[in-house]
Assembly symmetry: C2
Homo-oligomer: 467 residues x 2
Amino acid sequence: MEIQRTKIVDIFDPALVGKKVCVKGWVRTRRGNKHVQFVALNDGSTINNIQIVIDLEKFGDEELKPITTGASLHVEGLLVESQGKGQNVEIQAESIEIYGTADPAEYPLQKKGHTFEFLREKAHLRMRTNTFGAVMRIRHHLAFAIHKYFNDHGFFYLNTPLITESDAEGAGDMFQVTTLDLDNLPKTDDGKVDYSQDFFGKHTSLTVSGQLEGELGATALGAIYTFGPTFRAEQSNTPRHLAEFWMIEPEIAFLQLDGLMALEEDFIKYCVKYALDHCADDLAFLNKMIDNSLIERLEGVLKEDFVHLPYTEGVKILEEAQQKGHKFEFPVSWGTDLASEHERYLVEEHFKKPVIMINYPKDIKAFYMKQNDDGKTMQGTDVLFPQIGEIIGGSVREENYDKLMAEINRRHMGTKSLWWYLETRKFGTVPHAGFGLGFERLVLFVTGMQNIRDVIPFPRTPNNAEF
Amino acid sequence: MEIQRTKIVDIFDPALVGKKVCVKGWVRTRRGNKHVQFVALNDGSTINNIQIVIDLEKFGDEELKPITTGASLHVEGLLVESQGKGQNVEIQAESIEIYGTADPAEYPLQKKGHTFEFLREKAHLRMRTNTFGAVMRIRHHLAFAIHKYFNDHGFFYLNTPLITESDAEGAGDMFQVTTLDLDNLPKTDDGKVDYSQDFFGKHTSLTVSGQLEGELGATALGAIYTFGPTFRAEQSNTPRHLAEFWMIEPEIAFLQLDGLMALEEDFIKYCVKYALDHCADDLAFLNKMIDNSLIERLEGVLKEDFVHLPYTEGVKILEEAQQKGHKFEFPVSWGTDLASEHERYLVEEHFKKPVIMINYPKDIKAFYMKQNDDGKTMQGTDVLFPQIGEIIGGSVREENYDKLMAEINRRHMGTKSLWWYLETRKFGTVPHAGFGLGFERLVLFVTGMQNIRDVIPFPRTPNNAEF
């Protein structure tokens, strides 16, 4: 009878030494001599491989021939303490079943290193490599940390819609969603596309943010969070942009500025600590192979109290730096929408710790933010991090109907598609606040990876929707 | 100084009796007499209201006038044991701040009951009602249960893409995603739409399933699950169909038929038990107001071992029922794709417990299912539930490249957009299996609601993408 499979993540348990075990996985490498062969087997449950020791007196050469990098095996044998360096246990193979081969002439992931560019073309296989396995496991643990944090704090997960008639923040380029036949578009009498024949009877797009619907949830359930895909049809071919990415957007009734900043800091520290606690092996690998200061940077975030920095003060610091000769690509003065270089100067050079910047000029922030009494600033709260710059964008929301309408009118925005949003301010309006975190930004920060295409399984970017 | 707010879910703690407390929330009802007024306040954290007792000697009539259904309040006062029936504690108001009013002439959620149809038009407010608050809280707890189950069992959460070039199972009507200007479509020389100018340089759609990409994850990380939105552009205006819904799709390497059935049963029982354990108040409410047999049905699922029923045997049972005079709308014989009425007959009338039906005729199942040696059936494993019919659709996957290609050719399917999927069978193929669960189906089952539009915050259906 087949013995129960043990996942490789569980095989390094000293209690199993001396027992007969069964493992299944893919061959990472094979080496050896005429007497004995060593196969490093991995099943994706951990970055660590288990070494399979094959005594050539027990197995024929022909039988072993298909055991090349990428082949899949079912191995049974005795778990013993290892003679070699680098692993504490190994399996003396007693039986080997080959599930599938991987022709070395065709299989692209041979043991030599590959560039990340090459691996993006092989996104269907790259999760089998050490780096992408580590990144995807960390991504999982971060996602779970987020759900756990909010669940433990009494937030309700709210699935806001993906297909929408509205443009959440006038955020710009959106993808259109349609069932009309583009080769045979129905037209109205005046020659325009007849959207009454489209699936939803209207022009619809993919959402750029769930915040506005999130506010509906918060003003009913008290505290909600979204965690779902979000879309931007920007023609940005950069290491920081994806057309399809995942956002987390908590929204909380009865929360004001101080509470919001405290939540942002507590939440992000929780995520980073959770990764340090649950992804030690994968982080150690990335720290060694990708970025030697990774773990130090993660631990650094946990140690420091975040600076609370009014925008106006931040700009003063940047202006002083300019006067002292620091060169920014984009010069700064009050009213400037800060760029990543400015944010990083404040975080990495000036304060040397994370910064929550607050009270932004209203012309660089969204219409829904709470207006300060100075008539010039709004209660935005962006969290700025080393390496990444802005990792969280949050704000207190303007809950006063008249003030909100005045701002909407000042911006010449339409309100027709916002009637339901505005009713939250008409019927039992309450102070409330929330923030948005781009999930891939967080994964970038925690993994030390440099390109956002390498922290999502199948990136969508201009001219690329493969897999 | 303002005292710390207590969420209403936490206010019923006997240790708080005799203490000064602060609560914030929305007025559900107000009643009383010339001497004392009673306000039922709810903040969405629980279905239970806290009663605020207002002594009219302390508060003026004018001051209290705006306290109508839907208004939002900040109340401080003494928590005392209640004199009245139906609640164990109440708050003797000492101060009341009104955050926002809700004009009774305009606010649609007055205390009288509303039809679910009416509330669908008010989806931006309906989460403030007892029923939808309960449903959305249960939805949250079920989502968390799913993440927790898979995390605890070593599965990794995999975010498969939403925008895709491929049609996962030939599942039919898909939404097209485009940035082309429909009023001014670029055309190629032969008069066709020029998709080289579209955002992705190709025709793209919204995914109908993440399974195929999920298999890429499973054959790298061992065990993964997806939990994300999925889209079907079906013109189905029924209580069972949404154009946008959430799916859970676990996929597991090295898993075969018995293991898959065990996983399906263990998983769904875990979810139901989690809801019973964590949503007692909300379920009690729904059991009372929506469906008196709800809790009994949920507990029933936990008690029984699921029946493992080969399709061929199931059809025999249905044919015998027909012969004995049971009228089905659609007659059954071997090869029939069973309808909900057949599934429910087996579950509710014949076995009186959940059924996992296996080994379906290959012509009614998808190309990727593992082929049995009989040449006629495939290793599908659908879980059939009372009330709902099919709640899970799963299968062992065909891991043999040649058999898979033969089936693809038999169906005259193209393979051009599937090259990456097929490579999983070329390079280290392994036995593997998985299933899909429509999240809203689960929420329907657990809440006892009848219409799938009432278990998702903002349903998308033909001609409706509002909010």
